[in-house]
């Protein structure tokens, strides 16, 4: 077995919202060009963990973080690192598709603009991003249409296109299919498969079939702790802990 390169990791990560201890001493590692699924019942801290990588808790007034998070060897919370740089390297796709109330083209162009990508390069990048996200064929003739008129699944793929246009190293996905119909969900899952050649993906999901379909590794969390982590097939077929067994067989969650 070849040695995996660790792309993203945490070291004794603890997180509180006010007095509530949401992440308890998390030590996790995410391998390069793999899809890692975070599963667990509601409130187990999986979304919170995901959002701490691109520092989305920075603006939450009562959030407090201890411990370290690394992108390769870069300390993500180092005082000399700007949060905008972190977010350019670690992109995020949210639970509910949130396109800007702008045209399809401008939705992707906006990220390029604020990250100072030269004007001349932008058109090509927009086209590429749409192709990479399997959306190009559906929208190539109406790039000036408001993005809000796209279907839910198309909007979510546009949000993925918007993220990959910036060539991040990591893509965080927070239940990206929870608001979509089965066909749109399958399209996004196909997309995730094709994206992992270029990107390292961490996906939070409530859907255990989805975790098995898209991920290489799975981490099961419960009440702020990591209970078990393993290759996806291993974790689902041969869970080591009783709690994991109970969760994946649907006894709670």
């Amino acid at each position: 077995m070849t040695e995996e390169k660790i792309k993203l990791s945490t070291q004794n990560l603890n997180l509180w919202f006010g007095n509530k201890h949401v992440l308890k001493n998390i030590n996790a590692a995410f391998a390069e060009n793999k899809v890692t699924a975070l599963i667990g019942p509601s409130g187990c801290g999986k979304s919170t963990l995901l959002r701490s990588f691109n520092r989305m808790h920075d603006l939450t007034p009562d959030a407090r973080i201890e411990g370290k998070l690394f992108l390769e060897s870069l300390d993500l919370y180092d005082k000399n690192i700007s949060v905008t740089q972190v977010r350019k390297r670690i992109g995020m796709v949210f639970q509910k598709a949130n396109p800007f109330p702008k045209s399809i083209y401008d939705n992707i162009n906006y990220g390029l603009k604020i990250n100072d990508i030269p004007q001349g390069d932008r058109k090509g990048i927009v086209e590429n991003a749409l192709k990479e996200s399997y959306l190009w064929e559906e929208v190539k003739d109406e790039l000036n249409k408001p993005a809000t008129r796209l279907s839910g699944g198309q909007q979510q793929r546009l949000c993925i296109a918007r993220t990959v246009a910036l060539r991040p190293e990591i893509i965080l996905m927070d239940e990206p299919c929870s608001a979509l119909d089965p066909i749109s969900t399958l399209k996004i899952e196909d997309l995730i498969h094709s994206l992992k050649d270029k990107y390292t993906i961490v996906i939070v999901t409530h859907n255990m079939q989805q975790a098995q379909r898209v991920s290489d590794k799975t981490i099961f969390m419960y009440l702020g702790d990591i209970i078990e982590e393993a290759d996806t097939a291993e974790l689902f077929n041969n869970p080591q802990k009783e709690l994991t067994q109970n969760y994946i067989s649907g006894h709670f969650g």
Partner: protein, 282 residues
């Protein structure tokens, strides 16, 4: 015990009765204004100044004065109010201090307008030696408008979903960029509606301009900011209660009221238009 059906009918009837009563009085006011004001309304009335002790002639200086003060009010109150609301809603932490500030701003919008007039007299007319002038009156109306603009703008900003802000931040936008490029454009129709409604209210105010620059009678329409001016609401007050020949000028008073009403309806229509246009763009 009344039956379910009778109860339902009674409920419906009381609601209808209240609505009908309100509409009835509104209709009476409008009909009265239009029937008595319309005959005196003419192009000459809105394009010339008053003549012969205001018993004849028009109200052009008052229209110009009201428009000028409203413009000054807008220049002063809109940028300050909108920026203040952005800070309060987007940056200020939710502490007891920021809550106190917010509550104070709400309370300010309940302060009687005559108090703003006295404050404007003390601050602008005397304190800053701006004299009784268009500028003083415009600034005083600006103070009066600030709490409304701040409150409506904050309301509009709060309606922009958090997911929009996160989308921009997630792409590497700074908080300022996300506000400038995403939050503000999304909130703009709501902000503009609030601004227009506030300004139309300011345009109709009498008390704050009473001590700060509105004049009984001036001849020219110079438009100078350091001069006293005539204003529609004050002119109306004066024609209907202070004039020595009240019976004679009554038609002019009605026509003035009608003009003031039309100016405010036009401003309100702008607000409707903005909202209508935005709804079609969604």
């Amino acid at each position: 015990m009344i039956s379910k059906k009778t109860g339902a009918f009674l409920g419906w009837f009381v609601l209808l009765l209240c609505t009908g009563t309100v509409c009835f009085f509104l209709g009476i006011i409008l009909a009265d204004l239009i029937t008595k004001g319309w005959p005196a309304l003419s192009w000459e009335f809105i394009s010339s100044g008053p003549t012969e002790g205001m018993t004849t002639g028009g109200i052009l200086p008052a229209i110009v004065g009201t428009v000028l003060t409203t413009v000054i009010t807008a220049i002063f109150a809109v940028p300050f109010g909108v920026c203040c609301a952005i800070y309060l809603n987007e940056y200020a932490k939710d502490t007891s201090f920021s809550r106190l500030i917010r509550a104070s701003i709400r309370n300010l919008s309940g302060v009687p307008s005559i108090i703003y007039g006295l404050f404007g007299l003390a601050l602008f007319v005397q304190g800053l030696s701006l004299g009784t002038s268009v500028l003083s009156a415009g600034l005083t109306l600006g103070l009066l408008s600030l709490p409304y603009i701040i409150t409506t703008t904050e309301e509009a900003l709060r309606r922009v979903p958090a997911s929009m802000r996160e989308a921009a931040l997630g792409l590497g936008a700074t908080q300022f960029e996300s506000i400038r490029d995403v939050v503000l454009p999304a909130a703009l129709p709501g902000i503009l509606t609030g601004v227009v409604l506030t300004l139309s209210r300011a345009a109709g105010e009498t008390a704050p301009i009473l001590f700060t620059g509105a004049a009984f009678y001036i001849t020219g329409t110079s438009g100078a900011l350091n001069q006293e001016f005539m204003a529609l609401p004050y002119h109306l007050y004066m024609l209907s209660t202070q004039h020595q020949a009240i019976e004679q000028v009554r038609p002019l008073a009605y026509a003035t009221a009608l003009v003031l009403l039309i100016v405010i309806v036009l401003l309100n229509l702008t607000a409707f238009y903005i909202r209508y246009k935005h709804r079609n763009n969604d």
